[in-house]
């Protein structure tokens, strides 16, 4: 079965699976970004226990393969009385991993701000929370557009982990199993999925570059 035939026969489901991938990517990335900001605020806070917990969090979730986390969530958590849907398990796992990488990106963005601006903000009478909200986060976000673009693409590709659990509709990689269970498409089904991933990633990369040029802080 050629690529054309795959598209002709399964086109509709492919669109659904592409949307499924996109939706999970957006949810996981935004969730990861929000949680990443929170973890980063903990890591730079004046309260030591918060810094320790924040650093520990990043070391844990940055250094465990997402697939292992997923296995734990799907098979171990029910023993603790926590039974999540497959899609929820997947999304939570990816958010945990993405947030730890996002926090590392933020930390590098924060290091670029320089202690002088923080001292100036303190001298004006701003509180820690105000400094974080008004000076640190906006600058850290704007200086880390490119690494965050990479992280968004990595998030997109990590949603392929969804092929390891039953999802309806499937995402792009699970879609390959779906197709091959119903016909003999072989490699062609992979090719269609790969094109969808690559196309999405190219658009993300292009938009990320444009955004970076627009918001980058001149120093």
């Amino acid at each position: 079965m050629g690529v054309g035939e795959v598209v002709a026969e399964f086109g509709g489901v492919y669109v659904q699976s592409l949307l499924s991938t996109w939706l999970m990517t957006i949810v996981c990335f935004l969730g990861g970004l929000a949680l990443g900001v929170l973890i980063t605020v903990m890591r730079v806070s004046p309260i030591k226990p918060l810094r320790v917990v924040g650093d520990f969090y990043v070391q844990v979730f940055r250094n465990i393969p997402t697939i292992s986390l997923l296995v734990i969530f799907v098979y171990a958590l029910p023993y603790l009385g926590l039974l999540l849907e497959y899609r929820a398990c997947l999304i939570v796992c990816i958010i945990l991993v993405v947030s730890s990488f996002a926090s590392e990106n933020f930390m590098s963005g924060i290091n670029a701000i320089g202690v002088g601006q923080i001292e100036a903000a303190r001298s004006v009478g701003l509180s820690f929370v105000q400094i974080v909200r008004l000076i640190v986060i906006p600058q850290a976000l704007r200086t880390t557009v490119l690494p965050m673009t990479n992280l968004l693409i990595a998030t997109l590709l990590t949603t392929a982990m969804g092929s390891q659990v039953p999802l309806t509709p499937p995402e792009l990689t699970g879609m390959v199993n779906y197709v091959n269970a119903r016909s003999v498409a072989g490699i062609s089904a992979f090719v269609v999925s790969a094109i969808c991933y690559a196309g999405t990633a190219l658009v993300i990369g292009f938009l990320g570059n444009k955004l970076d040029k627009k918001v980058r802080i001149v120093r």
Partner: protein
């Protein structure tokens, strides 16, 4: 420029160490309302550190610092509220890089003093006018020269209506042709009666504008005198050596 009798800033037996280094040794200093005190001395003498302890950007090991008769707050809200009353101008300007010049000046009033946006902007424009950078109001800091950035930094401090202002080597990072435009703003402030503590190497400024020169070396105040007395008749050898070295060329 008569300074009144009330000491607005008082430092009593202040000591500070950086590890083994004794950077402030038994510092006793009073700054009166409306007074301009210039701190001079060789680099590493502790003058910047002293300046920074006054708004608690540096903590001290022992002794006490009083502002308007009250000890400086330790942490939290009271410390932030205290800092809002003291202007600080840094060597490297430290403008907020992601904000326009206007927003740099209005940020403090809006967020700390809760001044309404239009009032804060009107006042900020007046201040920017006064320091001569009103036309740059909508640019970002990186688009301005060092001298312009430093004048914005002064306007940013003034927007908080400070009771005193600290200047930590405000002209040391500037190209020579930009030093005067910053000093002029500071001279005008001094004339208006602002209480100022200025760490500087600008001896002409010290001589013309200050009420008192404090000479520091090795973490100690070696000498304290009126500018004429200090520059014409320094008492200590350290001060004589220092003045010789800067007049040497």
């Amino acid at each position: 420029m008569a300074a009144s009798d009330t000491a607005i800033i008082q430092m009593h037996h202040v000591d500070k160490h950086y590890g083994q280094l004794h950077v402030l040794q038994d510092i006793n200093l009073d700054v009166h309302k409306g007074e301009v005190v210039v701190l001079i001395g060789p680099s590493g003498s502790g003058k910047s550190t002293l300046c920074r302890t006054i708004n608690r950007l540096e903590t001290i090991d022992s002794g006490e610092i009083l502002f308007e008769g009250k000890p400086l707050p330790q942490e939290g809200k009271e410390l932030a509220a205290y800092r809002a009353e003291i202007g600080m101008v840094f060597q490297s300007f430290n403008l907020f890089a992601h904000k326009s010049i206007l927003d740099n000046v209005t940020l403090g009033p809006r967020e700390v003093l809760k001044t309404p946006k239009d009032v804060a902007e009107k006042e900020a424009m007046e201040l920017l006018e006064r320091v001569g950078v009103a036309e740059q109001a909508h640019k970002v800091p990186a688009q301005l020269s060092g001298g312009q950035q430093q004048r914005v930094a002064i306007a940013r401090s003034l927007a908080m209506h400070p009771k005193a202002m600290l200047f930590d080597e405000p002209t040391s990072a500037l190209d020579p042709e930009m030093i005067n435009e910053v000093l002029e703003v500071m001279v005008e402030l001094a004339r208006e009666g602002m209480t100022m503590v200025v760490v500087t190497h600008e001896m002409n400024f010290a001589r013309r504008v200050s009420n008192r020169v404090v000479f520091m070396a090795d973490g100690q105040i070696m000498e304290e005198a009126s500018p004429d007395e200090f520059f014409d008749h320094p008492k200590t050898d350290r001060a004589k050596d220092f003045l010789d070295s800067i007049r040497g060329h």
